[in-house]
Amino acid sequence: MAVTGKIRVISVATVLALFALVGICEVRMQLGVRTRPWLLEAYLESSLADCRTGPGAYAFRREYALLAVRADETQRLLVEADHDFWLWRDYADVTARLDSACLDAQLLRLRLALRQREQKVKLAAFLTPLQDELGANNHNGKIWSRFELSHIEQTRARSLADQARSLASMGETESALNHTLRAWAAWRRFNDHSDQAFARFEDEGLRGKWEREATALLSWSSETGRRAILVDKLAHRCLLLNRGKLEKSYPANLGRNWYRQKVQEQDATTPEGQYRIRRMFPSGKYGFALLLDYPNSADRERFEDLKRRGVIYPTARIGGGVEIHGGGRLDSDWTDGCVSLEGADMRDLYRRSSLGMRVTIVGTCRLTSSLQGQ
């Protein structure tokens, strides 16, 4: 009887003890933060890794370094808390620190993402107009934009733009942007070169001179009732005048460096000045040809002056053999300085020309458009 009573008491006491234990655990769970914040830790590590690696991370390396220090400190506190006995282990303080670090890491991630988006926008803002500028038949308002000028900076700009486009399609935004900016720099250098080369076509003094020469030729043709040829380099036109009126107008191609004034032999420039037809060839390598009397006295005088001033070498030669001939390609300026017309046009011009006929070559003149408008 006494034994049965003892067993009953022990059983009840055991159950009560177990309930007390469960009660203690439950109360313990409600006070403080008793479980290690694994998820927050992993989130912080992942955020820091995003800020450390990836495109544009270098720009935020200082902010990353400060966050990394905080993350290390938090990790140390977590390990310390882990070593406490489970009954009074409390992660509340370290969780608060983790929360704060995670928030700052997320903000840094957002700044990184924003920068990446800005880089993409910048890339589009630079690459699209560059492609427009480089595109064929682009008229950017510049006097030379109508012409297919060959220059290494232009080739370089096109190549870099192609590479930028290819890298952008692979998602390499930073590299694509770098290539785009280099392409713009090359394009700018090409622009500067072209602007300088063509500046003479906007020079008032030169334009006045050309206008006077063209007008004088027209007046002579009107007074004498004879034919004359006016070549307008900028317009790429060969105009046949007769009795002060336009008889025919032919598209023409010129020397490879046509936009310059001829200085010496082999400079591939079409000369400007007043000439006459010295000889006429009915057949040759380029079909019909009219040989001009370049160099004239004005050309010789300028040549000697350039030599005296040291602009050209003392051994340079003035050149010659400038013709108006056929065999023309209308797609580019290809001659060594001659004026070239398409075959049928040259045949027609040859038929209407004569020895000693006046030929005036000007850079540009308003007369061309006014004559063609007749």
Binding site: I10, A17, C25, A42, W86, I152, T155, Q163
Partner: protein
């Protein structure tokens, strides 16, 4: 009485011990976190970003499960699912690292292959230009092709620099650009030669 008190104390003590034992699989967590941290590099983000993301997501899932179990009463905790997910995350992280290595090796070998063939292409373009028909009507084209060749050589040098710096996509792009220019030169010269043969 004494025996009763001893028994009760033993029961409470055992209970406390059991509570302490029912804890998270810390060693597995540490191993998985280490594997994921090893995978979080520039190379993996560049060459196996999707695999890395899968590993990170799997680890987050595992840790969420650990935290959920931590919050339960010790007698009802079960970390089996968490352990399985942790192992899966570790495997994914290791796979991301190996995928990145494989993809990087492929990118490197693609770039190297493109670059290896390039000097030959440029040499062929130089030879073609040397044999190109020379005349007044081809000089403008020859000048343009000379520019193209020079730009192709610049691209070749930049490609080599990019390759040595580990920028394989850059190197490949530049090599392809240079090859295209060199091939275009050879093609243009061949066309010009055929045109002349046709005239004859």
């Amino acid at each position: 009485m004494k025996n009763s008190l001893l028994a009760i104390s033993l029961i409470i003590g055992c209970g406390l011990l059991f509570a302490a034992c029912a804890s998270a699989p810390t060693a597995e967590i540490t191993a998985t976190k280490a594997a994921v941290a090893t995978a979080q590099t520039d190379d993996v983000r560049t060459y196996a970003a999707d695999s890395l993301k899968s590993a990170e997501d799997e680890m987050s899932k595992a840790l969420a499960e650990v935290q959920t179990q931590d919050g339960k009463l010790f007698v009802s905790r079960d970390y089996k699912q968490a352990s399985t997910t942790l192992k899966s995350a570790k495997d994914l992280a290791e796979k991301a690292a190996s995928d990145a290595q494989a993809n990087k090796t492929k990118a490197k070998s693609d770039a190297e292959a493109a670059l290896a063939a390039l000097p030959q292409s440029i040499e062929e373009a130089k030879k073609a230009l040397a044999k190109a028909p020379k005349g007044k009507d081809t000089r403008a084209d020859l000048e343009a092709m000379q520019n193209d060749l020079k730009v192709a050589e610049e691209a070749l040098n930049e490609a080599n620099t990019a390759l040595s710096q580990g920028q394989y996509k850059d190197a490949l792009t530049k090599a392809e650009s240079a090859k295209e220019k060199a091939s275009a030169i050879v093609e243009q010269v061949q066309k010009a030669q055929e045109k002349i043969r046709g005239r004859r």
